[in-house]
């Protein structure tokens, strides 16, 4: 009962956030960008007199001459049907542009998230409660967190691609081309999550129940994996929502450094060319991903911590 209400509430909130993001993009599109028709006509600079007709046609075709509120209504209507409109520059539907480029980006982000989490898990479980290993690795993790990822990317490229030639320098060719971008994206995630997870494990191991578990004859490993880890996951889950958000931003940089195709490249090109429907599309996709991930993480938190389940927020 409480759970159903929780889900309904979260779904409502999610729709609200997406609507907010869409509205803000729309306002940005129409108030801040000058004359969209000129952008579509090309260049956005001076247009000769004979082109006035072209502009008029564009205005007619995109409905730019109608009152804003009508345009807003139509925009929302299209959005509800999953239609993000036409790109100003690519002469393609925005949805097509995004869907085509989504694959490589998802592969990159998902792989990096899994790798980041996995490394953090190994580091935290392996070193928690062992003072020496702990101080060594937490320094390392702090380094991961504080180094800009483009710099890490360039370093990795220099060593493993240029010097050793183990991995391709750029491109979207198979898993080999993903290894370095994955690592580059994953390291800051590993750093953050490992620090938080180790702290959580440490706290759990100091709880009285840890003594109880050992007094039952359990091994230290069992205590860590079956008991303490669940406690450590709670702060990690909370932080993961934020971490995965930064991952979306990180993708743009990494795709540039490694010259990979993907949403990041699409976004960069669209922003440079003021192709606003595409920018709106990318913003909305990012919003949806963010909402879905955070809702999923909150649901997962409730699974991990039974104490939260009876509370309707």
């Amino acid at each position: 009962m409480v759970t159903t209400r929780w889900w309904l509430r979260r779904a409502g909130l999610g729709v609200l956030v997406i609507w907010g993001a869409a509205t803000l993009s729309f306002i940005g599109l129409h108030l801040l960008s000058g004359d969209p028709a000129r952008i579509i006509a090309g260049g956005g600079g001076a247009v000769s007199g004979s082109s006035e007709q072209i502009l008029a046609r564009i205005n007619e075709q995109y409905g730019f001459h109608e009152p804003l509120i009508v345009q807003y209504g139509r925009f929302l209507g299209q959005l509800a049907r999953g239609d993000l409109g036409m790109s100003y520059q690519l002469n393609q539907r925005v949805t097509t542009v995004i869907v085509d480029q989504l694959g490589p980006t998802v592969a990159l982000a998902l792989g990096a998230a899994v790798l980041g989490f996995g490394l953090a898990l190994v580091l935290a479980v392996g070193t928690a409660g062992r003072p020496r290993a702990e101080s060594l690795f937490s320094t390392l993790e702090l380094l991961f967190v504080s180094t800009p990822s483009f710099w890490v990317g360039i370093l990795l490229l220099t060593v493993f691609s240029f010097r050793l030639g183990w991995f391709p320098v750029f491109g979207n060719e198979g898993v080999a081309s993903l290894v370095l971008p994955w690592l580059t994206l994953a390291l800051p995630i590993t750093g953050t999550l490992a620090l938080v997870m180790r702290d959580g494990l440490q706290r759990a191991l100091e709880q009285p129940f840890a003594t109880t578990v050992l007094a039952r004859g359990a091994t230290a490993t069992r205590l860590r994996l079956r008991h303490a880890l669940r406690h450590a996951l709670l702060p990690v889950l909370t932080l993961s929502g934020w971490t995965l958000g930064t991952l979306l931003g990180g993708v743009v940089v990494i795709e540039t450094v490694f010259a990979r195709a993907g949403i990041g490249q699409v976004a960069v090109t669209a922003v440079n060319g003021r192709d606003l429907p595409v920018v709106t599309g990318v913003v909305l996709v990012a919003t949806v991903v963010f909402v879905v991930i955070n809702t999923a993480l909150d649901a997962l938190t409730r699974v991990v911590d039974p104490r939260l389940r009876g509370v309707p927020e």
Binding site: V2, Q207, P208, F209, T211, T212, V213, L214, A215, R216, G217, A218, T219, R222, H227, R230, H231, V304, D305, P306, R307, G310, V311, P312
Partner: protein, 616 residues
């Protein structure tokens, strides 16, 4: 003293911790023996080494501990130089361990069934169905009603008593021959405490050996066959329970017994722990700094644990044979009549309801009326969830009542708007159970106490400080702790600082919400003495909330007994405690009547399978 058939036998156990400040000897040569079907109790205040002893016996003294003994055998095998793998085979399987406060001793994120079955998962390879059946029968054995349903729940969904039972079920899951229980009832209400002790007694009667660790002599009196009293890592007295509790020889044991608040109709016993000092290090008797009998020999040489006069008891004291009476301070005078004085706090028909999760409202306080006179100590007793603390909040004006009203010194109080109330807040102050969490950890003692005195002007800074020092003196502390912070103080010092802070604004009323529940008996006695002194010297009135009838008996003239938000009985303490009219008061009394002076009580507080309500 080791009987030949002892299940567990330890001789000259020593535990040393390596810390940053050098080695600390927590246990300095303790010998113990537990037989099957018997209960040995180890008693002592915090820091006496009793918990470390218990942990050393299951090989969990900690990674920075060095454990050493001349012999340490369990079930005929030596535990000395046992490898970690062999230890694990004993833990949970042959030796069960029950810790204090099951809310934190059970993993809060796992179901009761998984917690109870963990020793089975580790030691026995049971099938799914067999495991579930075993868990159900274990939960039934420890008196948990509706075990199948409870097994699927989480620790926070069970009441304190049920949780403690579940923890015991887990400790005995694999059928150990010895159960070590470290303060198993400390966090529980008295009636629940009695039930849990009865459960442990049943296990003992069924042939399990029980090693009970406790600071609470009432608990020990109810359960133990044999008692060892620890002080500063040493056993200072040991012997059959009846002997140690009735005819204590060591001054420390005598002081402990005297300090325990009792229901003795003759009124409170005078405190015998005259001085509070940490155990003395170096050669000589560690108790000498607190002992009224200490002489040159006590300073020079540590007495051996030796037989005393006529009994089978052993004591570690040069003065054991002399059995000199301890110098006793003059008995406290309670019952100075306050009936004619003016009423400072009047609570009139107050009710309060709270919303509960899942809809609905619960009555926390239901039509409560009482009045508190100047200089009076009024006790408010009841179990957790009875509404005591809500009354405190309402009296303080922190919470508005739904119905009824509170008058402070005859003027309206609960009905005032907060800005009108604030100037008068200094007249009623609060002292809480856990002073540490009521201190800002970054504040020094000077700032903690000074906060209640207002901001000093630059010129008034010196006067401000001298007022803080004066308050410290008033509560028996001195200026040396001005710059310390909460965590650097001992439990007793913290509560004294909290009292000094409450006294700062010169209140007429102190609301004390379980002010001594978290303290050892000896410290408890001193804090209670302090309250007495303050009441006598300053004429401050006390609304004294406690679940402990002994403490109420020691402190108060009148008492209110609360149950489910309503006052079920009230009257002078002597009348209520000795001729209780309400069944609930009788139940509370029965649960604590095993006081150390009278030995084990024959009264059982209902069957062990009494279903308990969910925590409120």
């Amino acid at each position: 003293m080791t009987p030949p058939d002892a299940l567990l036998s330890v001789r000259d156990l020593r535990v040393r911790f390596t810390t940053r400040h050098g080695p600390v000897d927590a246990v300095r040569g303790v010998s113990l023996a537990v037989e099957a079907g018997r209960c040995l109790a180890v008693v002592g205040e915090s820091g006496s080494g009793k918990s470390v002893t218990a942990r050393a016996l299951i090989g969990l003294a900690g990674s920075n501990a060095t454990v050493d003994a001349t012999t340490m055998t369990f079930e005929g095998r030596s535990l000395l130089s046992l490898g970690e793998r062999r230890w694990r085979r004993l833990r949970g399987a042959r030796i069960g361990f029950v810790l204090q406060d099951a809310l934190t001793s059970l993993d809060p994120l796992r179901r009761i069934e998984d917690e109870v079955a963990e020793p089975l998962d580790v030691h026995a390879d049971l099938g799914r169905r067999e495991r579930a059946e075993r868990v159900r029968s274990l939960l039934g054995d420890v008196g948990i009603p509706d075990p199948a349903q409870r097994a699927r729940q989480y620790p926070h969904e069970l009441s304190g008593g049920l949780r403690q039972r579940a923890l015991i079920a887990s400790a005995i899951a694999a059928g150990p021959s010895l159960v070590v229980a470290d303060e198993p009832t400390t966090a529980l209400d008295v009636t629940i405490q009695a039930q849990v002790l009865d459960l442990l007694a049943d296990m003992r009667d069924a042939g399990t050996a029980v090693l009970l660790i406790s600071h609470d002599l009432t608990v020990v009196a109810r359960m133990a066959d044999h008692v060892a009293v620890m002080y500063a890592g040493l056993v200072v007295e040991e012997g059959p329970a009846a002997q140690v509790l009735h005819e204590p020889v060591h001054p420390y044991t005598r002081a402990l017994l005297a300090a325990a608040p009792t229901l003795d109709p003759r009124g409170p016993a005078p405190t015998q722990i005259a001085r509070l000092a940490p155990p003395t290090t170096g050669p000589g008797c560690p108790y000498r700094s607190r002992c009224a009998l200490a002489d040159a020999r006590c300073h020079g040489e540590l007495p051996a644990l030796r037989a005393t006069g006529d009994g089978p008891s052993l004591a570690r004291c040069w003065h054991a044979d002399a059995a000199e009476p301890l110098p006793t301070p003059a008995p406290r005078t309670v019952g100075t009549t306050t009936s004619g004085r003016r009423v400072v706090l009047e609570v009139d028909g107050v009710s309060k309801r709270f919303r509960v999760p899942g809809g609905g409202r619960r009555r926390a306080v239901d039509g409560v009326s009482f009045s508190l006179r100047a200089g009076e100590a009024l006790g408010l007793v009841g179990e957790s969830g009875s509404g005591k603390s809500t009354i405190a909040q309402i009296a303080l004006g922190m919470l508005g009542p739904d119905d009824g009203r509170v008058l402070l010194d005859g003027a309206s109080w609960s009905e005032l708007r907060e800005p009108d109330r604030r100037p008068h807040r200094s007249r009623i102050q609060l002292i809480q159970q856990d002073p540490l969490s009521s201190f800002d950890p970054r504040f020094t003692v000077e700032r903690i106490i000074g906060e209640g005195l207002g901001q000093p002007s630059r010129r008034g800074a010196a006067a401000h400080r001298s007022r803080v020092v004066e308050l410290l003196h008033r509560v028996g502390l001195d200026a040396t702790i001005l710059d310390r912070r909460g965590p650097q103080l001992s439990g007793g010092q913290r509560q004294r600082v909290a009292i000094a802070r409450a006294l700062g604004p010169e209140p007429e009323i102190l609301v004390c919400d379980e002010p001594v529940s978290a303290l050892d008996v000896s410290i408890q006695a001193q804090i209670l003495d302090l309250f007495d002194t303050l009441r006598r010297d300053l004429g401050v009135a006390l609304l004294f909330i406690s679940h402990d009838l002994g403490v109420i008996n020691r402190m108060c003239e009148r008492v209110l007994v609360m149950k489910d938000g309503a006052i079920v009985e009230e009257g002078p303490v002597g009348d209520v405690l000795h001729t209780p009219r309400h069944a609930y008061t009788r139940e509370l009394l029965a649960a604590v009547s095993a006081d150390p002076a009278t030995g084990r009580t024959p009264v059982r507080t209902g069957p062990t399978s009494v279903p308990e309500g969910r925590p409120t």
